[in-house]
């Protein structure tokens, strides 16, 4: 198997096809659980577990699942993994589970996971499907973490609970409240747009230079 190909499948989920920033999928749980970095990472781990597990099973059984009932099967598989994740979190880290609350079962409705099964895992061999899942989940976790840390730093003056700015910092409380979620994600997407805009501009300049140069 081509090493570069595998790498490509993994890496695409992190930046180029980042599920949150580029594909704008999986938003529902995202904004609600990113009021602190710890919550963001916990949700990212849970989603990673569900996505990789589901992709693995769906890809392994892709020849056995008839087309007509595939969505139902995907949902059954995803729901099973989510339930497992829910109970495991409740048993191991009840405090984190309390913070994330009802949003762990809501991972089931995360369009990212179902979307990946339909678009990729059900069509490709297991190894590639798992790599794709890992990449997408990592990209998702990256997005969650960037959102969570920005909101926590601005809204609480802390990261992972560690105070950063000392006693005199007046926290920008709105950041850890719902509007902060919308605004932060909106601004981050703005940056992505700007970045893409600049890149297109640059490529155009290069193309124009080549045309006029020769």
């Amino acid at each position: 198997m081509n090493k570069n190909e595998s790498y490509e499948e993994f890496i695409k989920g992190i930046w180029r096809d980042n599920p949150v920033f580029v594909q704008v999928l999986g938003m529902c749980p995202m904004l609600a659980v990113t009021n602190s970095a710890v919550n963001a990472i916990a949700m990212g781990m849970a989603t990673l577990f569900v996505l990789v597990g589901s992709s693995f099973l769906v890809s392994s059984f892709r020849n056995l699942i008839p087309k007509q009932v595939r969505i139902s099967c995907f949902i059954i598989i995803i729901a099973t993994f989510v339930t497992i994740a829910d109970y495991t979190l409740l048993a191991l880290v009840p405090k984190v589970h309390k913070e994330l609350g009802a949003f762990i079962p809501l991972i089931v409705a995360n369009c990212l996971i179902l979307g990946r099964q339909e678009a990729f895992a059900s069509r490709y061999p297991t190894r590639l499907a798992v790599l794709d899942a890992l990449g997408m989940a990592s990209g998702f976790m990256l997005a969650l973490f960037s959102l969570g840390s920005v909101r926590e730093i601005l809204g609480d003056g802390a990261l992972f609970g560690v105070k950063l700015f000392g006693e005199n910092y007046e926290p920008w409380v709105i950041m850890i409240l719902p509007p902060g979620g919308f605004l932060t994600l909106g601004v981050i997407l703005l940056f992505f747009n700007w970045f893409k805009f600049k890149k297109d501009e640059f490529l155009e300049d290069v193309a124009a230079a080549e045309r006029s140069g020769n």
Binding site: C73, I76, I77, L90, A91, S122, R123, P125, L128
Partner: protein
């Protein structure tokens, strides 16, 4: 590298569809039941420990507790309350003597519902402790109902006669008054209102001071004694 492996040339039979779903459901069910059973002991123990800690916090001097419900016109000890049955907790010291009740209560706060546990001594008719179990109040303002030590401390000897009143900070003068939190008046008053309403709901059902249910429940496993 697209290996489309869905080689259905003819539509599969209904039996095949149903069978696939049934098998998927069965395996899923087994997996879920498995994880449920294996995590149940830990989850139950966690919940019990959290409750004990909260009860011991709101009733200083208590080392043992048991659940109490109101049945057949009296307060009785139960192992486990029925669903939806209101339950309070009797707190007892190491000698098994009654200290006070730990009463759960909930009600609308500023943003959303606040759930608390408060300790109550019926003989002196005072609240001796308050612990916020759940709240979604505004961070930095309303969340001071559990972060502000002075506010929480104000519940350590609060008379409920005729009812608890939250007053402007610094103006507390009577035993049934408590200083509200500056900038979080509504959340503070909500906590007070929740306790007042819970007290009214329960006061008729509490036995006369001195005749509370004795401590009978054996210690749950994990403290050495058997069930």
């Amino acid at each position: 590298m697209n290996t489309d492996s869905r080689k259905e040339s003819t539509s599969p039979s209904s039996l095949r569809l149903v069978l696939t779903l049934a098998i998927a459901g069965l395996v899923s069910g087994i997996a879920i039941i498995g994880i449920y059973e294996s995590t149940l002991p830990t989850i139950t123990a966690n919940k019990a420990r959290e409750l004990r800690e909260a009860v011991f916090k709101v009733l200083p001097g208590v080392t043992q507790m048991q659940p109490l419900v109101y049945r057949d016109s009296q307060l009785v000890v139960v192992e486990k309350a029925n669903k939806d049955e209101p339950v309070i907790y009797g707190g007892y010291d190491a000698q098994g003597d009654f200290v006070g009740y730990a009463m759960p209560a909930a009600g609308p706060g500023f943003q959303d519902t606040i759930a608390i546990l408060y300790g109550y001594k019926p003989e002196e008719q005072i609240v001796v402790g308050m612990e916020v179990l759940e709240s979604r109040e505004t961070p930095g303002l309303g969340d001071k109902i559990y972060k502000d030590a002075a506010f929480v401390g104000g519940f350590s000897a609060l008379s409920v006669k005729p009812e608890i009143v939250a007053v402007k900070k610094g103006t507390k003068s009577l035993p049934n008054e408590i200083d509200a939190i500056t900038g979080a008046t509504i959340s503070s008053k909500a906590v007070v209102r929740i306790i007042n309403e819970a007290h009214i709901a329960w006061v008729e059902q509490l036995p006369a001071p001195g005749s509370e249910p004795p401590f009978v429940l054996a210690e749950p496993a994990g403290n050495g004694a058997g069930q």
